[in-house]
């Protein structure tokens, strides 16, 4: 049930992100919610349910960003998830500093992947320079948002788990 909670929280964050950042004219400085959730799922969840969750979230992000071809963010999310799974032995995400540093690197990687897929599959894409220019600010803002989103996902997962276990007791 944790995965459902992560999915719902990330969907909510994506839903909030779009109009909220548009309202404050800072859409270019939106944290990469998908990358953080992929990191969290890779760190806390199992391989298959985690990757499925990240895949669905990636598709949802594709739904929020239909200017890019559908599947870009799903693929990026899945790859970040797998990369974090592979690197989990060498990274400790319990410390905020390492979490932030990892988030920054993961975001840079995700941006690189995004540019690569856009270049390959999106023939109309012509914003490489802007994507490159925004890569560093995006990683920084994601880095700052990572601890908060981790805490939020952790709390939501626990809440869902408690509810589901309480419900099963009465059955």
């Amino acid at each position: 049930m944790n995965y459902v909670a992560w999915l719902l929280v990330t969907w909510l964050l994506l839903g909030l992100e779009s109009p909220l950042l548009g309202s404050f004219s800072s859409q270019l400085f939106a944290p990469d919610v998908l990358v953080i959730t992929a990191m969290f799922a890779a760190h806390r969840g199992g391989l298959l349910p985690g990757i499925l969750t990240v895949f669905i979230i990636g598709l949802l992000k594709d739904g929020f960003c239909l200017a890019a071809p559908v599947g870009v963010f799903a693929e990026v999310g899945v790859l970040v998830f797998l990369g974090m799974r592979l690197a989990s032995r060498h990274t400790d995400l319990r410390s905020p500093v390492s979490l932030m540093a990892t988030a920054a690197i993961a975001t840079l990687v995700a941006t690189g992947l995004f540019m690569m897929f856009e270049t390959i599959f999106h023939r109309e894409f012509g914003s490489h320079a802007q994507a490159l220019r925004m890569a560093l600010p995006l990683s920084l803002i994601t880095m700052l948002a990572a601890p908060l989103q981790f805490a939020l996902l952790d709390r939501a997962g626990r809440l869902f788990e408690r509810r589901s276990s309480a419900g099963s007791m009465f059955r």
């Binding site: 969907w11 909510l12 994506l14 839903g15 909030l16 779009s18 109009p19 909220l20 309202s23 391989l47 298959l48 990757i51 499925l52 895949f55 990636g58 598709l59 949802l60 594709d62 739904g63 929020f64 239909l66 071809p69 559908v70 599947g71 870009v72 799903a74 693929e75 899945v78 790859l79 897929f117 390959i120 599959f121 999106h122 023939r123 109309e124």
Partner: protein, 312 residues
């Protein structure tokens, strides 16, 4: 067998699916000039309501922020509006004062038009006597070159008698009100034929009237509250027919052969702004008094006698 194979490679298959499916989607959706695909429609249906809800929520939150947090602009606007409001209030007050003045002047003009037998000069009230013992107004004469302005001239307004000029200095004159204790005027009760002398009592809103005790006349037409008291013109100060006041009470105080009644002034002295100074008047001869027609319209010039003061 196939099921066993599926169960065994479930993880690998799922992993392959989530890796290859997006690539296929990207390939399909990356083509230029294509219509909206069913997948895009589904994704839009999933995400758009969320955006709409959050947008609406943020709109209400933004409204709260605008209303209660971001008040700096509102404060500035409020100060500007307050300043404008003060200016406009001042303008409105000026306009109202002008309107009121216009209304009073119109009444004076109407009065002057209706009483053409009176020669009058307009004057503006500029102050009041500060003493507690006298009821005097100070007026400024608006018309230049009034040579015959002198003490004793009647001062009236469209409402009735105000008083008489007591002192003159240049364009300035002090007017003794009819409520002043020194003031006297010959008067009659309108429509009842009872004549007498109006004497001021020194009170702001009251003065006494002494009437010659005409027992038969009074008995025939008793004096009642609200009866108008008008000037007769016999004192040669006030033109006839001007209202001085109204009988406040039907009860009288007898002093010798006289009955004294209390009157309420016809003019509100407290709010008086403009007055007319009577420099002369023509007595209109009634038709019944005259024989030939030209003679009926004859008007007799009456000179105001300044010497005819109550003291004199």
């Amino acid at each position: 067998m196939f099921r066993d194979l599926l169960q065994r490679y479930q993880g690998t298959l799922l992993l392959g699916l989530v890796l290859i499916l997006p690539l296929a989607l990207m390939y399909w959706h990356g083509k230029p000039n294509r219509n909206t695909s069913p997948i895009e429609k589904v994704l839009m249906a999933l995400t758009a309501p969320m955006q709409a809800v959050t947008r609406a929520s943020l709109g209400s939150v933004g409204g709260v922020v605008d209303d209660y947090v971001l008040l700096t602009k509102t404060k500035r606007n409020n100060e500007e509006l307050k300043r404008d409001n003060r200016l406009l209030l001042g303008e409105a007050l000026k306009s109202r004062a002008l309107q009121e003045e216009l209304r009073r002047l119109k009444k004076l003009c109407d009065f002057k038009q209706g009483r053409k037998e009176l020669d009058t000069v307009p004057a503006k009230v500029i102050g009041r006597e500060v003493s507690q013992f006298f009821r005097v107004l100070r007026v400024r004469i608006d018309v230049d070159g009034i040579e015959n302005l002198r003490p004793g001239l009647a001062v009236i307004t469209h409402g009735g008698v105000v008083g008489r000029i007591e002192k003159v200095s240049g364009d300035w004159a002090d007017v003794m009100l009819v409520t002043d204790s020194r003031s006297q005027a010959h008067a009659s009760i309108s429509g009842k034929g009872v004549v007498g002398t109006v004497k001021g009592k020194g009170r702001r809103k009251q003065f006494g009237v002494e009437f010659v005790h005409l027992d038969r006349a009074v008995r025939r037409t008793p004096i009642a509250p609200g009866d108008a008291v008008v000037t007769t013109g016999h004192d040669r100060v006030f033109p006839p027919g001007l209202e001085i006041g109204h009988v406040a009470s039907g009860k009288s105080t007898q002093r010798g052969p006289y009955h004294e009644y209390t009157l309420t002034p016809a003019v509100a002295f407290a709010t008086l702004e403009e007055v007319l100074i009577v420099t002369g008047y023509r007595a209109v001869v009634k038709d019944s008094d005259s024989l030939p027609a030209p003679e009926a319209a004859r008007r007799k010039r009456v000179r105001v006698d300044p010497a005819n003061t109550p003291d004199g």
